[in-house]
Symmetry: C2
Subunit: 102 residues, 2 copies
Amino acid sequence: MTLTRTFAVLADDTRWRILQLVGEQDLSASALAKRLPVSRQAIAKHLSVLQETGLVEPAWVGRELRYRAAGAELSRLAGELEQIARTWDRRLAAIKAVAESL
Amino acid sequence: MTLTRTFAVLADDTRWRILQLVGEQDLSASALAKRLPVSRQAIAKHLSVLQETGLVEPAWVGRELRYRAAGAELSRLAGELEQIARTWDRRLAAIKAVAESL
DNA sequence: GCGACGTGCAATCGTCGAGTTGCACAAGCC
DNA sequence: GGCTTGTGCAACTCGACGATTGCACGTCGC
């Protein structure tokens, strides 16, 4: 899963509302459809891409397919971003240091 | 700037290539256009949204408008993600603890 | 002054993706 | 058995957005 693809997956309000609900308790696509203003099929698609990205994990309970939020992928992403941010700031600090030495 | 909006801004390969270049040295839209396979106007638009998001900062040098990468916003985002990830994992840990106590 | 370079705005095109509707099928409950 | 509920697949619509092209304006250097 590429970096930009993961961002694209996270760049959707409906998906975040799903993640929030699924972060509180395990829920099926139908259960989510009752709490959100979109169709069950739309939610099923969202859950599919969320699962492909590793942000959500499925679990069968009877004939229900419930999902739960998984933090690992999000945590990994946070680490990458923090590292990139530090790289940029290092360069700016170096520039600033040179400027002050003049 | 909302969370999803920031993700949408980061969910583009061209913008990341711009960020990478601008993270190494200050560059203008025209200079970036010479290094990337897209038109100057396309890059100017990208720089505009990157600036609105706080991921890039402009600086006039003569008649050139150069940009540089800024890590603050990215670092802030990383912090938010890490916190959300921890919240999810806490719930899973609690569920696991209950399951093992049975 | 004049040409080259850098920037900005507007209109247009093509594509991708979120959402819907419709249908089919399996599993549980009266 | 019949009804409800949950899932899955396919076709379609529609809006957002990345990218291009064209034009106009300011600025620097010969």
